[in-house]
Amino acid sequence: MNKRVMELKGVEVWDGNMANSQAFRQADVDVVAAYPITPSTATVENYAMFHANGYIDGEVMMTESEHAAMSACVGAGAAGGRVATATSSQGLALMIEVLYQASGMRIPVVLCLVNRALAAPLNVNGDHSDLYLTRDSGWISIDAFNPQQAYDMTLMSFKISEHPDVRLPVISNQDGFMTSHTAQGVHTLSDDAAYGFVGEFKPMNDMLDFEHPVTHGVQTEEDWHFEHKARQHNDLMTKVFPKIEVAFAEFEKLSGRKYNLIEKYDMDDADVCVVCLGTSVETAREVATEMRANGIKAGVLGLRVIRPFPFMEVAEALKGIKAIAALDRSSPNGAAGMLFNEIAGALFNTDTKALLSGYVYGLGGRDLTKAHLTALYKELQANVDAGKVTTPLQQFIGVRGPKLAYL
């Protein structure tokens, strides 16, 4: 724990970036190496301010690029330290090569990814293009829907990432601006309680253990590369969910806030539902409640964990639903959306008769309005009434010009 304690009020007014910064501070990170970028800038900026004001015992490294920032995290992690960074969009794109290094080398790193669109055209606002870019990188990917959850998820990310059975890096996602720059009341933990939860960093195969010299970052060819990738996939598929669930359960005991691999809202008796990520989950919940008042049994499924993908849990949650909408906030650029595909995969080979349709929305920070969601739920209900999908399987919503619909 950092020597200097910060006295926090029970509820602080924090935006998502400050929530990240405070979680970093309370976890007593050894090295934060970063190259700040909008909208995640303030995560690092606030942390550097804490450092300048004497609240941080660890190091803050300003690097020459995001590629270097993640490289420094991998190096410091291999040396045997708790490490973290933050980025968005183009910065994440530049980091991507090193993301695969971090996960393949099994270095625990916490990356706060404040989701933002990818150029071109250049855009600083929130969508999930960068999040989607990370999905095959071997990282664990967790999503927050608001600043409170950003604080909780970033804190828990350390615990999950560093577990000796896991040793995989974790991305703590939040929506750019909608979460990162929206200040809300955030229930805090004391420095003592937060550090007690995350725990002391336990190095494994650290390069600074001179009694046990190790080589990190080796070359493997066709003779044993496959075995290493297989092990990483196996650990993602079998070891991560149990540790996430333990972390969620311990966190609930500490804070009273309960989290799940998938977050169900009014799903038990729902006829229609939307599946989405980030702040859209909260908007959809509000609209779903309104739909119920109008006789449409609407529900919302928000994904708390994106990687590993909760395949079985999603199939179970959706098995009784009659019409499902998969909402993708990233252009699939020539395919069905990621969520559409994942959900279709989870439901295929089951007995479900669910009608699944996909929607692409909100690119570059375009608002997803309650009017959009109201129309969407009505469309789902029309599908239920007709007993088939009455629209093309993929539609764009909220975009100007002639209607875009495919498949």
């Binding site: 046990h212 190790v214 080589t215 080796v218 044993w224």
Partner: protein, 136 residues
């Protein structure tokens, strides 16, 4: 890890492709022990031959060598074998044929020269160039 990597299944390998250099704890000064006497582990790259990456090889001529240690200092792969400041030869299991040792050799003629990989050492030594005269 007492098995060669080529025999290990995915569940036997250390996560992250981490390789342990030595067996046991190193609670002594490793520099006091010559490489041939160290307890390198099965997975240490010491036991990995990378000589076949090379297409040309350095050949050492002990007749002209003055044991200056330049090649030993400059070799990027610690493939010059020297003991008690005397040159002993080249580690052909780890040398990748970069030729740096030849370029830093100060003798006339040079005591290390690059030859085709298929050339025998005997043949190479038999064809060693003569001392160059001033201005040659």
């Amino acid at each position: 890890m007492n098995k060669p990597i080529s025999e290990m299944g995915w569940d036997e390998l250390a996560p992250g492709a981490v390789l342990y250099t030595f067996d046991g704890d190193i609670n002594y000064n490793i520099a006091d022990i010559q490489p041939e006497d160290r307890m390198y582990s099965e997975t240490s790259s010491k036991g990995m031959s990378v000589g076949d990456w090379r297409v040309i090889k350095p050949v050492w001529n002990s007749e002209t060598c003055i044991d200056c240690q330049n090649c030993w200092i400059f070799c990027p792969d610690t493939s010059i074998i020297a003991r008690n400041k005397e040159m002993k030869g080249v580690d052909y299991e780890h040398c990748k044929g970069c030729g740096l040792c030849v370029s830093v050799c100060p003798t006339n003629p040079k005591s290390l020269l690059m030859f085709n990989e298929y050339e025998t050492v005997e043949n190479a030594l038999a064809n060693w160039p003569a001392k160059k005269k001033k201005g040659e």
